[in-house]
Structures are given as structure tokens and as C-alpha cells.
Amino acid sequence: MKKQLIELKVNGESHELAVEPQRTLLEVLREDLGLTGAKEACGTGECGACTVLINGNPILSCLTLAIEAQGKEITTIEGLAKGAELHPLQKAFIQYGAIQCGYCTSGMILNAKSILDENPKPSREEILKGLEGNLCRCTGYNKILEAIMSVSIGEE
């Protein structure tokens, strides 16, 4: 199948790439752009480890074609920090012990960001419901919730 020339805007930067149509956004981010923060844990839409933000909304990059993502603002975990200045969620995840093996972390933080962007003061239930698509096997989600709550109620 012939490659198509596409332009992807990732973390504010434009990239011109030649990709075959079946290549997912996840593959292209990881293999063509070296942005390995988004991960594959299942490949079939259940785990959320591949979550990136498209125009601010959390989507599964393993089920999104790279060619479909043209013309959109793609945000990956690598785009969250401003230089050495971490995003409050990243700081909170570290501070509250919300990271163990770290494999689910990128998707979890991005989804959490989108939840807080929609509603800066969500309830515990709203956060947990919002995160239901991000599986974590290490933390039991307890400290993840604490970290997100701390950012939402303005703790620093």
C-alpha cells in the first residue's frame, strides 16, 4: 500500500512524514517521531496506555490512523512540561507516590489533565469514572487519585 505524505502537529511542532495508511498514530509517534511516552499495553482499546490528547480530548492512539490525525493538535506526555518546569500533575504524581512501574503513567496523566481542563474541581467519583479507561496494575489507583485531587483543589 502506498505511503501518504502527511503533516502531524505534535506538541506544537509540525512534522512531515510518509506513512502507510494502516499505521496507527501510536506507531508513528513511537517509531517515526521517537516519542515513546505513549505505550501499547493491549492494542485493542481496553487499557488506555496509548492515550494522547487530540484537540484536548483523550483518545486511543492505537486505534487512530496517523493519516486521520492530520490538521489536529496532538499532545503527548512529552509536551506537558515546559522545559524543566513540570506540569502540576507530573509534580503531584511524583510527590504523592502515584508512579510505580510507570508504564500507565503517560496515559493516566494526559487523561487526568483532560478531566481537569473540563472541570477544575471534579469530585472523587468523577475522577475515578473518568479514569476507568486507564488500567494500572501497580498502584490500586489510590495515590493516583490523591495526586489528581491535590492539583484540583489547588494544593501545591
Binding site: 516519542l35 515513546t36 505505550k39 493491549c42 485493542t44 504524581f93 510505580q100 512501574c101 496494575r137
Partner: protein, 779 residues
């Protein structure tokens, strides 16, 4: 005792920054120039002879660079344990037989995964199917198909016995004869799996000078290196396992896996790096899941609930090769005898071959199923005797200073305090009484307790940990440790120990870890000895470095080494604040005046100081561990008696972990184990039919999601302390908190509903049917 600055503090993890910014590289993330992709061809039959394999068409496919089968290997077997009684029994690639659906038969390296997959479809394997058996009790029957000939010592009267553990003490018949009450029950634990988020993956790169470099998602590089080098016929120093971050393991990544061997051999054959990444479907269908264990328990007690006699039979469904099955049946004995005193014991454990994928340790390695059985029955006994479930446990619980039947010493065992405080903080007695009075209510609450104990480090290859602490010219420090952080925070706690011993800050320490070429040996993150064994090795190395610094500084400052203290990379004389020497100055002085000695501290540690080797897996004779952790856990559940669905509302863990090196990390470990116990008790099961896996995705196999989060409470029972310059005794926290919670949940469900479930998981049907039976039975 002086105030500690780092040990015992909730220091944020050292690798937090890399993980939070997506910069941490896991094996799946790694790429090398010229890299090829590998794929594995797996057996579609549960038991068959391999008559012929024709790889010619696959080899001719453009883009394919190499195809290997068993005949390309040296035919050297490997195994989880390698003892005279239990020699290695598995080839890295099947030779003349396959024994489970999914067994590795061939491997391909190609320029991309599409071509590699197409190549697999072009490999023609001629099989002759053989009769197969899947249930362990059926496999033990004399008319069962033989998967491997049983080892002569473990044969009679059963078949397909991969291993047997038999032990006991006292007079079991007399014990039962003297018992006021004797109960016999059978409990079954299901096949469940780890669900590590990072799938199995390996990147192997062979350079033509004969060196193999391997990155693999594992639980410790040294055991991998040993087994990989042996099966490849390479000397250890030509096989380098480098550090990669690990996306979860929980026991499922310890053994040598075929794909690690295949990636390596394919790289050797092609001269190019080869990467193999499993799909999640492959992980469900062919990887090593947790051992499903049947426990038959006959227990006799006095009228006041004191245990008199226990007869235990454990049957483990090991899968098609021995794997760690022979270890789990030994461990189950341990998990029987650790928590409660049993004057008369008879224990028999069988690890049985079946034509299923090989099973692996899974967090707790037998303890969850074993403690589920023992502590469920304890509650049943308590109820029959009219005794409180907390009281009966206190009566039988291990106490401080006891000697275990195998000769081990429990030292400062805090189990009694764990039980008492867990009961007190959860208001157990009141809630338990209330739980029994909910007849007629739709939504019912229940409370239950489970007790467990765990060893902290034992002897198994590589048996020891060592560490090096190097001083840099500016006084900052490198810690070289073979310890692998699989999420539990190994690098962080080891840094805390260096910081404490040496008087530097966490930022002053750079950790070089888990590289078989550049870091010293380490026991690995799977034998529950990270904090204890690796920690003490690091402590000794840091202490040694400090001693050397003080030797130099004593001369420079004209003081006695005993009067020196180190803090913030400075060495001070106690009581004379003006007199100090920076680390940088001390290092310079050492190089100048001690013939170039740059100050390198060395340390090493091994559990069981004076014991030559691990205990006998077959007889349990011998000393097992010199350090035991204990816990009592309480579960509070809510049951909807119309739907049978159970919610775990609150989990309280009272744990004697010695002392927590990093309380925040310990809490995280507890949270994760409570979550695993929740899944184990309520939802998780890998369903199989005639050797074929039916649950092949996270849609079919339910692990807890965020909405299932449990309110967690922690009670620290501190039984040890940390002192400079001497080995410390902290206990394991990574595995022992699953088992008590599984039992607690089962007991809580009983408290809420009066339905006793003896097979896991507690499907809602089991509760509904149980309630129906009670109603119809007219209780």
C-alpha cells in the same frame, strides 16, 4: 539512637521524573540501528510429536533474514530450578515434542513485523497429535497420558508428578484423636494472571566480536544471564543483560523465556539486533500465568480453638514443564506453618504436569491460595466453636522469639500486634456481630480478617547481592547495584540507605543499576529480599566508603575516626564545628597520599549467613530464611444479595515489615496488593478449555479499574530499627499482602451473607445460589 535523615522517610522516587515525562525507556521502547523484528511460531496442539518442520518457504520470503527451530539450538535445557532431583526439563525451542498450545516451535527475524508474521504462516510443521490431559487430578491417575516420565523418586502411586514435597512433625493421628473438633475442607484457587502492563519483550544485539547485549523485560538480570548464556553455550562475560525499565512483572518475568533465547540466537545468526514484543493476546494465550492450587485441609482443634493437628494436601497445576511448580509446593508448606503454631503436621504437595502453558510465581507465590484456605477454615472452626475470629487467631498466632519447626527463628514477630490493632482500628467485633444480623436486607455489609506471613529473602541462584559505592572527585557518589527496579522503588530505597550511611543527599547519588557487565551481582526482584539483602549489601558498601573517607580525614584533621561525622558531603569533627574536610578534599587527599586510591566502597550480603544452601524442596529440611514478615488484614465488603455482586469498600493492612525504609513506597505496595487481592477474590480467572485459552484480552479478563479503587488503611507495626554500620533487618513488603486480603474478603462475604465460598473467584452466582440454598434449606 540518632535521628535518621533519609531512611524511614517518604522520599519521592528517584526515577519519578523520567517516568512522569515519558522519558523512561522500557524494552518495548528501545531501538537500535539495523534492527529486525522477530515473531514466534507456536504449537496449535496441546500435546503432539513434531515429525518435521519445513522452513524453506519462510526463508525465501523477501525481507526474512533468519528462521530458527530447535535443531538450530544446542539442545540445552533450562528450568526455574536446577537441582539433582529436579534437573532442567525445557528446551528453549521445542525439539521433538510440544506439550502445550502456545509452546514455541520456531522463530523468524524480518525487516518488519508484517513480513515476520507472513513468514510464520509459511513454516510448515507436521504434527502427530498425542492424547492430552488438562486437569491435575486427572493427570495424576495411572491411566493418564504421560507428559513427562515422573522422576523416579516422586512417582508412586501417581503419574505426571513434576515434584513432590512431603514433610511433617509430631503425631498427626494422635493430634486428631485428641481434638475436640476436626474439620475437613477442600479449597480451590483459580488460574489467574499477572497482567503486567508492559508485555513480554526482548531486544538482543550480537556484535560480531562475540558479545551479546540484551535488554529484556525481567525481574533481575543475573538469573537471565546465567540461563541465557548456558542455553546459548556462551561464557557469562559474553552475555550482557542491560538495564531497561520494567512495566510491571509480579512474578511473571523471572524464568528464562523462549523469546529471549530466540531474539538472541536470531541476532547471532543475522549479526543484527532483533526485537521481539508479544501482543497482549499472546500474553494471555501463551505466557506463564499464576499457579492454580487445590488445598485439602484437615484441621483438629481443642475446644478453646487452639490448633492441635493439621493435615494438608496441595495439588498444583504446573503446566507442561516443571517451572516453579516444585517451589510453590514447598512454599505452601511454609505458608501453612509460619503464621500459626501447629504441634502436629502432615504436609504433602504435588506439582502436576498438565498440557497447559507453564505456570509461574504470581505475587505471593502460593500464599494467596494457601492462606485463603487456612484462614477461611479458621473462621469456619471459630464459628462452630462459638469463638470470635479474632480470638482464635490470637490464640494460635506466632509470637516474638519463637523457633519455627524447621529451626528458623522468627525474632521480632509482630503478628499478635498486627491482629490486635487491625481488629481495634476497624471495630471488628462490633461490625462482625452486626454482619450476622442482616437477614432480609438486600444490601448487606460484612467484615472479615485474614492473616499471612512471608519470608524475606531465601537462597536461590544467584544467592547473594553485592554493591559498590564510588566517590567522584567533587564528592558526589555513584551507587553500582545489580538490583532492578520493577516499580517497587528499589533504586530509591537503596539511595536512601547510601544517603543515610554516607552523609550525602539523594541528589548527590547517581544509581547505575541492573547491568550484568557494570554492576555487581544481585539476587533479583523476585525473592522478596530487595530491601533486606540488596539493602544490606548497599549499606555495607556505603559504610565501607565512609570508613575510608574517615581514615583519610582523620589524618588530615588530626582527629580520631570515631569522632568524625559526615553530613552534606562534609566530614566534621564532633564538637569542633570549625574543623572539617569536604568529601572532595578527602578524595583528593586519598589519591595523593594513598597511592591513587579514589575511594571505592564495597559491600555484600546473603541471607542465612551460616547456612550453605537452600532447604530441600522435597523434604523441607533445612533453614529457609532468617527474616519473616507478618500481617493481619481486614476487609469490609458490601454485598447486593439480589445480584450477588460484591464491593470491597475498605481494606486495612496491619503489617510487621520490620520498619519501612520509605513509608510512601510501602503504602503503594500495599495498595497494589489489595487491588490484586480484590481481583483474585472477586473477578479474575483465565478460562481454558482443553488447553486453549478463552480469555484473551482485558475485555474478557477483568482486572480492577479506577472505579474499583478501595479505601485503604495502613497500620505500621514496627519491630526492627535501623542503626549505622551494622546489618539491619527490614522485611519484605512486596508480596505478602495479597494473601491475607484474599482470605479476609472471603470471610467478609461469609459474614455478610452466610455463604461460604470455597472456590475462587467469588462469582456472583456462587453467592446467589448459596443464598438460595440457605433459604430452601430452611436455616
Amino acid at each position: 539512637m540518632e535521628e535518621l535523615s533519609f531512611v524511614g522517610k517518604s522520599v519521592p522516587r528517584k526515577d519519578g521524573m523520567e517516568k512522569a515525562t515519558g522519558r523512561a525507556l522500557y524494552t518495548v521502547d528501545m531501538v537500535l540501528p539495523g534492527m529486525l523484528w522477530g515473531k514466534i511460531l507456536r504449537s496449535p496442539y496441546p500435546h503432539a510429536k513434531i515429525l518435521n518442520i519445513d522452513t524453506s518457504r519462510a526463508q525465501r520470503l523477501p525481507g526474512v533474514k533468519a528462521v530458527i527451530t530447535g535443531k538450530d539450538t544446542l539442545g540445552i535445557k533450562h528450568g526455574f530450578v536446577e537441582t539433582p532431583r529436579y534437573p532442567p526439563d525445557q528446551y528453549p525451542l521445542a525439539m521433538d515434542r510440544v506439550r502445550y498450545i502456545g509452546e514455541e516451535v520456531a522463530a523468524v527475524a524480518a525487516i518488519d513485523e508484517y513480513i515476520a508474521e507472513e513468514a510464520l504462516s509459511l513454516i510448515k510443521v507436521d504434527y502427530e497429535e498425542l492424547p492430552a490431559v488438562f486437569d491435575p487430578e486427572e493427570a495424576m491417575r495411572p491411566d493418564a497420558p504421560e507428559i513427562h516420565p515422573s522422576h523416579p523418586k516422586v512417582r508412586e502411586p501417581y503419574k505426571n508428578i513434576g515434584g513432590k514435597t512431603e514433610t511433617g512433625w509430631g503425631d498427626i493421628e494422635k493430634g486428631f484423636a485428641e481434638s475436640y473438633l476436626v474439620r475437613e475442607d477442600r479449597f480451590e484457587g483459580q488460574l489467574r494472571t499477572h497482567c503486567y502492563m508492559e508485555p513480554q519483550a526482548t531486544l538482543a544485539s550480537y556484535d560480531l566480536s562475540g558479545r551479546l547485549n540484551v535488554w529484556t523485560s525481567s525481574q533481575g538480570p543475573f538469573i537471565k544471564r546465567a540461563k541465557l548464556a548456558t542455553t546459548l553455550g556462551l561464557p557469562f562475560n559474553n552475555v550482557r543483560i542491560l538495564k531497561a525499565y520494567v512495566g510491571g512483572a509480579y512474578g511473571g518475568k523471572i524464568d528464562l523465556f523462549s523469546h529471549e533465547f530466540c531474539a538472541s540466537l536470531l541476532s547471532i545468526k543475522t549479526g543484527r539486533p532483533v526485537k521481539i514484543v508479544w501482543t497482549r493476546q499472546e500474553v494471555f494465550e501463551a505466557s506463564r500465568h499464576g499457579q492454580p492450587i487445590i488445598v485439602e485441609l484437615k484441621t483438629g482443634v481443642k475446644k478453646d480453638g487452639t490448633l492441635l493437628a493439621q493435615q494438608v494436601k496441595v495439588i498444583n497445576n504446573a503446566g507442561a514443564y516443571r517451572g516453579s511448580g516444585v517451589v510453590v509446593i514447598f512454599l505452601c508448606w511454609g505458608f501453612v506453618m509460619l503464621s500459626y503454631r501447629i504441634p502436629n503436621l502432615k504436609y504433602e504437595g504435588y506439582s502436576v504436569y498438565t498440557n497447559n502453558p507453564v505456570r509461574a510465581p504470581q505475587r505471593g507465590h502460593g500464599a494467596p491460595n494457601l492462606r485463603f484456605a487456612v484462614d477461611s477454615q479458621m473462621d469456619m472452626i471459630a464459628e462452630e466453636l462459638g469463638i470470635d475470629p479474632v480470638e482464635i487467631r490470637l490464640k494460635n498466632a506466632r509470637q516474638k522469639g519463637e523457633i519455627l519447626p524447621n529451626g528458623d527463628y522468627v525474632r521480632n514477630c509482630g503478628l499478635v500486634e498486627c491482629i490486635e490493632r487491625a481488629a481495634e482500628e476497624t471495630q471488628f467485633k462490633e461490625k462482625y456481630a452486626k454482619g450476622k444480623r442482616q437477614e432480609g436486607q438486600r444490601i448487606r455489609r460484612g467484615i472479615g480478617m485474614g492473616v499471612s506471613s512471608y519470608f524475606s529473602g531465601s537462597l536461590i541462584y544467584p544467592n547473594a547481592s553485592a554493591a559498590i559505592v564510588k566517590l567522584n572527585d567533587d564528592g558526589t557518589v555513584s551507587l553500582l547495584t545489580g538490583a532492578l527496579d520493577i516499580g517497587q522503588g528499589a533504586e530509591t530505597i537503596l539511595s536512601q540507605i547510601v544517603a543515610e550511611e554516607l552523609g550525602v543527599s539523594m541528589e548527590d547519588i547517581r544509581v547505575v543499576a541492573a547491568d550484568t557487565e557494570t554492576t555487581p551481582v544481585d539476587i533479583g526482584s523476585w525473592i522478596s529480599g530487595g530491601a533486606y539483602v540488596s539493602g544490606n549489601a548497599v549499606k555495607m558498601a556505603a559504610s565501607d566508603a565512609r570508613r575510608q573517607l574517615f581514615e583519610v580525614a582523620a589524618k588530615e584533621l588530626e582527629a580520631n575516626p570515631e569522632d568524625l561525622i559526615a553530613k552534606n558531603r562534609e566530614i566534621y569533627v564532633k564538637g569542633s564545628p570549625g574543623r572539617s574536610l569536604s568529601f572532595a578534599q578527602a578524595v583528593a587527599a586519598s589519591i595523593a597520599k594513598r597511592r591513587g586510591n579514589p575511594i571505592i566502597g564495597q559491600g555484600h550480603y546473603r541471607t542465612m549467613k551460616d547456612v550453605p544452601m537452600h532447604p530441600s524442596l522435597a523434604t523441607t529440611k533445612g533453614r529457609w530464611s532468617d527474616n519473616y514478615a507478618f500481617d493481619a488484614q481486614v476487609a469490609e465488603v458490601e454485598v447486593d444479595t439480589w445480584t450477588g455482586q460484591v464491593k470491597l469498600l475498605k481494606a486495612t493492612t496491619a503489617h510487621d515489615c520490620g520498619f519501612p525504609i520509605n513509608p510512601l513506597l510501602v503504602e503503594g505496595q500495599i495498595d497494589g496488593q489489595v487491588s490484586m487481592a480484590q481481583g483474585h477474590a472477586l473477578w479474575e480467572e483465565v478460562l481454558m478449555e482443553k488447553g486453549r485459552t478463552l480469555t484473551t484480552s482485558f475485555l474478557d479478563y477483568k482486572i480492577p479499574c479506577a472505579k474499583d479503587m478501595v479505601e485503604a488503611h495502613y497500620i505500621d507495626v514496627i519491630t526492627e530499627k535501623y542503626e549505622k554500620d551494622i546489618p539491619y533487618r527490614t522485611k519484605e513488603v512486596g508480596e505478602g499482602y495479597v494473601s491475607g486480603m484474599v482470605a479476609a474478603i472471603a470471610n467478609a462475604v461469609y459474614n455478610a451473607t452466610g455463604v461460604r465460598v470455597k472456590t475462587l473467584p467469588i462469582y456472583p452466582e456462587k453467592i446467589l445460589k448459596g443464598l438460595k440454598e440457605k433459604k430452601d434449606g430452611g436455616k
